[in-house]
Amino acid sequence: MFQSRAESLALVLPAMLFAAVIFIAPVLILLSEGLRPAGSWSLTYYISFFTTPLNLTVFLRTLKLGALVTVSAAVIGYAAALCIVNLSPKGRGQMVGLIVLPLMISPVARTYAWIVILGRTGIVNQALGALGLTDAPLRILFSETAIFIGLLQLFLPLMIISLVSALENMPRDAISAARVLGANWLQVFWKVILPLTKEGLVIGGTLVFTGSLTAYITPAILGGSKVLMLETLLYQRVTIANDFASASVIAMILIVMSFSANLLLKRLATARAKR
């Protein structure tokens, strides 16, 4: 009944125009700027970006922290999700609600709390000092450790929720069947739970990994001006040195990584829909 092409075009046109002018065109120009030093296509900016030791350090640190946060979130996420699915339906709902809640709170507020906890006179240093374990306060703030803790707290909920929904879709008696047949807990995890919840793990992992790679607030607050990640480096290059070449290269890295992650997710979604 509703088949008019003109009508459908009129409905989508405002949003398409908006996205093209405000969003797609400026971003494409920004990306092309990094590929066209002095008006012709070349990879000069990319080569000089990656041959600068500081840039390379920041790039590798961002990848390393992203990987560490993702793996840690997966380990903690499985432990938590397995506990949650064993709760009563009511308890399960409440628990999921509590885990989602932090996602709605300002990341600045959530990250700021770690200054109180990890600072020189923070709780951790007070406790270590009182126990006589350290002579001088440890420097935890403004380090990779602080960023790692901050990112893990920020993104762990996404992993837990993905794993909870994957575990809920798993046949309930698979675990008890394996147990009856004599598998120990480790075997149950590797041979039954992991293969059956692989998709949830990949979904959660992609969300946590891309979230960590493109984080700005956490490294800005907990890393200070010395321990940079890609987004804080981008900001510094532009505000301090007016260096738009590096900014364009970093923008490209961020977009490529986040786009590939998204593609992977879409693949998974269509594969599941076909089954």
């Binding site: 009944m1 459908s8 400026p26 938590a80 700021y112 109180v116 900001y235």
Partner: protein, 259 residues
Amino acid sequence: MTSRILSTAILGAVMIFLIGPFFIIVAASLSAGETLAFPPQGLSFRWVLKVFEIESFRSSFAMSMMLAVFGTLAALLIGTPVSYALARYKLPLGETIRTIVSAPIIVPGIVVGLALLRYLVIPFGFNLTLALFMAHTALVLPYAVRVVSASMTNLRSDIEEAAVLLGCSRLGAFLRVVLPNIRGGILAAFILGFVTSFNQVPVSLFLSGPGIRTLPIDMLAYLETTYDPSVAALSALLAFMSIGIVFLAERFLGFSRYV
């Protein structure tokens, strides 16, 4: 029995890690001392009250509120027709359209902000507040389309066709039949968009100028120079605001159904 204890211990530890810092922020903001500390030195509301006296927080709060409300409304205004078209028409490039409107999720906010500054604000003298508004609209658009689409797919098209057959105009049928039915989805999209826009930092980083700043950016700037508990107090207030919004939305709307 042991597995029960283990399970409680694991969940307890995870909850302390996720939610514990929030309680520390609340406690630190009630301190009477001059610097940020936990446990708080004495108890007072001086820092909570001070938040309301800091002029820049007041203006940046107003800015963030305005961006979140009008940015989300604008995104719904252009996004709802897209959701409707995607659900009702066989669009030749449906998938492409979906990808284009959800692109702002894939491109990091900091890149969008920089691109807008460099190619719209600087060369064309584009107003900075307007650029911020556009950036926040773009940011919320994917959520608006996705959440409204979800409630559109649950709506059968034949009641709308019936209205048209009975003499209602197409627009009239949309306003009187479709809109009341997707009201919940639109409200849920508004809340999700509002919270996302209000908390967003990277997209607004480069789009700041004298007197033009969003609240989270203002907080980051304040942190660099001052070490008193006022940011803790403001963080606690904002967290309570978010919790309140989500709680009310869940209570009256069943928010989690849509998100």
